[in-house]
């Protein structure tokens, strides 16, 4: 019925239009908001899967918006890399949206229409950033996703407001740096289209302005992905955000930023420029090591499991950035695979954390006591997520770590190997500490039975449990089929010339 030629635009436009439709509907009938949001995300996911399928079978898709040829108009380009990322974003968002129902009802009563409209706009921002082939269009969507994220974070606990303000300041600096970097590219080339830029830039590789442009874009993107030491905004924002927000934002925002970095490094600039012309790979890898070690150690010092998870995000960003800057096929394969795996890993862990918060009301370690007995399915899913984070086969986390380690051995970066192994071990300590508390300690005795039976924490409602279990199973499926994933998709996503 729908022309497959139009899939690319549908990925973005279906949730985009639905956001406004939802917002209008919400003025009259609030209960319709959630179904509309789910339907929209389902449509986007279907279009994304369809596009990825087309990319695999027929090759890269170009889509001219407004019918204008690039570089005069804006162009959507879907190749293996962003086709995959699009599928990940839509699926994660769909799961997060299914999950969020009960927690939004509880934590944000009466704000459902606004919440879901912003939720969809955030997803649109992420999708648009991923799919676009235009450097400036990316900035606009970056701002959409950022503004929605500020708002969705700010409505959490008390501390979230200040955290969100800090995020806004730092995030604006990051986005502005990106914009300025694109401006430098524009002033030197006159173009904004990525492919066009890529064809013009090689003649200008000696230019100082181009070098500055690259640095500005890199720093801007690093800020957005919370790359150590620019990570300071992340832990508080993600910790105090409402459950439903953190389940969407935590798995996706940093990953999309990593994707943008890959896109900029390899599709606007070339591997030759990034790795050979600039001698900064060792520096970046050491920064990645600092991110991994620093993130792990900071996670170790937390007594709040949600905050602990946010520091692990910081560490995981180090994995991906380091992997890309290893500058070999294996490292980049590992980093791209890790984008996929980490999105689902983080989703699984945050959904589990969200379920626990929903049932116990807090995110301190003490809230975990006795949960293995009371919420066995939730804790099983949490354990699978934890194993993936540690890197135990056959969960997905093992395989990306495998490629990363192999890549760093091939590149001769043994310090990065050491950092990866160190982080695995720290993760093992971190998660087994949590599992121990929930397995061994008795649940706190609850007394206030005057208001009704609050004595036992029970398993979460189905709308929360199903997405959680799906994400956990996905981790294992992704692990088992990671070979397929690499040979069918990711190996084509690694830029030629590496």
């Amino acid at each position: 019925m729908i022309n497959p030629e139009q899939y690319p635009i549908l990925i973005v436009i279906v949730p985009f239009l639905s956001a406004f439709f939802l917002s209008i509907t919400g003025c009259f009938k609030r209960s319709l908001c959630r179904p509309i949001a789910l339907l929209a995300l389902f449509g986007a996911a279907a279009a994304a899967v369809g596009s990825l399928h087309r990319v695999i079978t027929t090759g890269i898709i170009h889509y001219r918006l407004g019918g204008w040829p690039p570089p005069f108009g804006i162009e959507y380009v879907i190749d293996h890399l962003n086709g995959l990322v699009l599928v990940v974003i839509t699926l994660v968002a769909l799961l997060a949206a299914i999950f969020s129902g009960k927690s939004v009802e509880r934590e944000l009563p009466g704000k459902e229409p606004l919440f879901y409209a912003l939720f969809l706009l955030l997803v649109v921002g992420l999708l648009g950033m991923t799919i676009t082939g235009d450097a400036f269009n990316l900035y606009v969507l970056l701002e959409i996703s950022s503004l929605t994220a500020y708002a969705l974070i700010a409505i959490g606990q008390d501390r979230a407001i200040h955290a969100s303000f800090n995020y806004l300041i730092i995030g604006t600096i990051g986005a502005s740096f990106y914009l300025l970097g694109v401006g430098h590219l524009y002033i030197m080339t006159g173009s904004l289209n990525m492919a066009d830029l890529a064809s013009i830039l090689p003649q200008l590789y000696g230019s100082k302005a181009i070098l500055t442009a690259f640095l500005l874009i890199l720093i801007g993107v690093w800020t957005k992905m919370a790359f150590f030491p620019l990570h300071t905004w992340l832990p508080n924002s993600y910790t105090y955000a409402p459950t439903a927000t953190s389940c969407l934002v935590a798995p996706l925002m940093t990953k999309v930023a990593v994707y943008i970095m890959i896109r900029m490094m390899f599709s606007v600039f070339t591997p030759a420029y990034v790795f050979h012309h600039l001698a900064m790979a060792p520096v970046v890898i050491w920064m990645a090591i600092a991110a991994i070690v620093g993130g792990s150690l900071l996670a170790l010092s937390q007594r709040d499991f949600k905050k602990m998870l946010t520091y692990l995000i910081v560490a995981e960003v180090g994995y991906m950035v380091g992997g890309i800057w290893l500058a070999n096929r294996l490292g980049i394969t590992g980093a791209i695979l890790h984008i996929v795996n980490d999105a689902f890993m983080t989703l699984c862990l945050f959904l589990a954390a969200g379920t626990i918060i929903h049932r116990t009301g807090g995110h301190h370690f003490d809230n975990l006591k006795g949960l293995f007995h009371q919420m066995p399915l939730t804790m099983t899913a949490f354990t699978i997520g934890a194993l993936s984070m540690i890197g135990v086969p056959p969960t997905a986390g093992f395989f990306s770590k495998w490629y990363l380690i192999l890549g760093s051995i091939q590149a001769g970066r043994y310090e990065f190997v050491a950092a990866l192994l160190f982080s695995s071990l720290v993760n093992a300590v971190l998660f087994f500490r949590l599992l121990e508390i929930s397995y061994f300690e008795k649940p706190p005795h609850q007394e206030n039975t005057a208001h009704g039976p609050v004595s036992m924490v029970a398993e979460a409602p189905l709308t929360m449990l199903v997405p959680l279990l799906v994400s956990a199973i996905t981790l294992i499926v992704l692990g088992i089929y990671s070979g397929e994933l690499v040979t069918k998709i990711i190996q084509f996503a690694v830029p030629a010339g590496i």
Binding site: I390, W402, I405, I409, L421, L425, A428, F440, T487
Partner: protein, 493 residues
Amino acid sequence: MTDTVTSIIPLLAVLVSLAAVVPILLSRKRPNLREGWTFAAGLTKLGLVYAMVGPVLSGKVLTYRLVEVMPGISVAFRVDAMGLLFALVASILWLATTAYAIGYMRGLNEHSQTRFFSFFAVALSATIGVAFAANLFTLYLFYEMLSLATYPLVTHHQDQEARMSGRKYLTYILGTSIGLVLPAMIITYHLTGTLEFSPGGILAGHVSGPLLTMLILMFVLGFAKAAIMPMHGWLPAAMVAPTPVSALLHAVAVVKVGAFSIFRVMTGIFGTGFLLSQHQNQLIIILAAVTVITASLIALTQDGLKRRLAFSTIGQLSYIILGAALLSPKGMLGGLLHIAMHAFGKITLFFCAGAIFVATGKKNISEMAGIGRRMPITMIAFLIGAMSVIGLPPTGGFISKWYLVLGTLEADQPLMLAVLLGSSLLNAAYFMPVFYRAFFCPPEESGFADRFNEAPVWCVAPLVFSSLMSLGLFFYPQPFFNLARLAVQAFTG
């Protein structure tokens, strides 16, 4: 040459106990049905494993490739003589242990029995997976699965002591597998581009010198389940587990998986010829020998019966490693046989310790004076098990030790001969007093009435069975012996 046959049986053998978890969980309200499922799975598994004995003995190798997870790396199974030997031991003893566990758990009225039986089944699945692994990756996969599945079993009591032991257990097992085996495996893959076990090894010609030594050390110490010193600390700690767990896992499945993995890596990854030509086995021999003697000495000082058995296990495991490290055909034959013989002997001893605990609540040797008069069947089985572990005829342990001793001579390692013999004496020194005091202590020191009062029949029957197996294997070792000989032929070509 052996001919390779694709067969789904290995996969089924691995999966059958994993699949059993579902009915076990579903029938959690009805214990009899639940244990029925466990038995059914155990019998099926034994049947499947036994069905492969014939083909393997006739020189076939059964393989099954499940899925390729990374270029050149698959989850794949390959049943050869060595793996089948181990799988056979594990699946026979699973049945025995299931029976025993029913008696033990019900006798003590333990909590969370469903969880117990579920994870037990998972652990068995992982053990068979290790036995049939066709490559290092598959082996690692099931090795980790075993580590994690046994954690809830070790910490079954969920008290402070269990918590500390569980922590120690995971620190050793998971720490070494992530910190040592994983990088070693990746380096191997980096060097060779494959992880498939092959009879001649895959590393030959790819590595030498210090890196080789480092790889060997990473593998040998990394498979901490083999409890080579200094990686042995978890094993005595894990004795807080219920006795069926200690019996099957910490006498058979888990520890043997460690020893088996080292054996596999040395023969299938490094290759015996390559190791011999590089003279790299001496280091392992020394590590193993030190472990053998030290563990035996420590065992002498232990009063807790299970702790003494634990240290004895540490020592005996290093026999297997030693057998492998000798790299002589007879030594390796002895090592492989010891996997089986020690398993039957040691499980008997653990069953006995558990039976004593169920019947009397006693854990320490010093409290067991005169117990022989109350539990004669148990203590006679104990004697047979002890003899097998010491290596006295007419028990199976004699055969494996015999070949180990021959192996030391064949490999021209007289010092190791002394170690083996000395260790046997030490074994006798820490086992015989238990038996002696049980039967021959003066009546006034005995803490027990002369009344005959054994543990429940579900406890006693398995230990009688396993002790009879120990005896029987002396007279009829052929199934295991043939498999082991076939395996050694494969290594040495």
